[in-house]
Symmetry: C2
Subunit: 204 residues, 2 copies
Amino acid sequence: MLTLQRKGSDYHHGALKSAAILAGRNLVEGGGLQALGIRRVATQIGVTAPALYRHFASLEELLAEVSCYIRAEMGEFMMSRRNQVKKSRDIKKYEIDKFRAIGDAYVDFADKHPQLFEVAFIHHQNQSIGEYNELAWQILNESLDNFVALGMTPKQKRETAPLLAWSSVHGLATLIANRAIAPAEVKFFRAAVMDGVQDALLKK
Amino acid sequence: MLTLQRKGSDYHHGALKSAAILAGRNLVEGGGLQALGIRRVATQIGVTAPALYRHFASLEELLAEVSCYIRAEMGEFMMSRRNQVKKSRDIKKYEIDKFRAIGDAYVDFADKHPQLFEVAFIHHQNQSIGEYNELAWQILNESLDNFVALGMTPKQKRETAPLLAWSSVHGLATLIANRAIAPAEVKFFRAAVMDGVQDALLKK
DNA sequence: TGTACATCAGTGAACGCGCGTTCACTGATGTAC
DNA sequence: TGTACATCAGTGAACGCGCGTTCACTGATGTAC
């Protein structure tokens, strides 16, 4: 692989910070939380370690930024998947398809990038998911608003619905990311959970 | 705190291995995965580090044993909680109470020992949950068998039911362990998920 | 029951490693005149 | 437009640390006669 070796000076007043966060993300993708380090990131972007201290107070702060970056990436992935759903004449079907697309994207992300998924959810410091994973939370709630508006989900479920949905899909995604499901069973497992959630939200 | 400082020789042909696993568990409880180490465990049980290599090939192997120990602990906690449920004249109510006790125990464990919970679920190496977390899986399935036997859960749901239940409760537990839910909302969140799961299993 | 001996679970010293972080510095950048 | 200068983002060397693991060893344990 060809690596473009930039001189450190290239970063003068440049994009070192965002380059560092991206490099951190890539290290995590390859080797998990363990692989993230000040020195490793510095090496990766062709800079000496102390240079990073101009932009991050500590390793912990770098980690927080990397984690945040991954959450944004995940949210955008979910949005893009939802936006690819084909419109249907049946508007209820369309809403369900979009809801499923969101959930599937969440699980796919965890499956394809288990290490990113893991790091995305550390260090909440007691922020609720809504604040912490803003984009994904918002996308889910748009779906649920539409369900209620179309009379597909009873109003009295509106408050609990996102909690059940999030827990179920998050649990599924976590188990898949941890390889806690034998490969042959994954498909069935996913269908069981997604169908179950959908039923629970729509019924009665 | 009074620490009983044993001489290393006390362990000759003794219980060093189980003492090490227990010490490992306690280190994890206090400081998470990071806190687990050959040297730290050795110090904790009053032995030099190389002594541990008589019992574990590597740090990784120690971790695997600690993780397994925690899973057993968790399963036993669930069982004991279930067994404390008061018998009711209404046998269906009794079964539901036991099912809730299991789920609540799972979540309580994650809430009270977030670091243990985290370590319990690493390194699956593609074993399915059933094999990996044998005891807990078995307990859940006993409940579901009873539901079906009493006609509370339709037979055709028997296969998917544990998957949905496990995902939902595992997701809830994970979020709580990660402090991803604001403290004030935890109670409502838990009720929403547990009620939702119960409904999903029993309905229709 | 007492002694000689084999076993092997421990010790203590040492290894090389990579880490986060600090410090005084240098030299590129952007600005004021 | 050209020069002098302040700023500050980088460098390079060094720090102390704790880690997993190895090695030759020692001395307690349990066994055979």
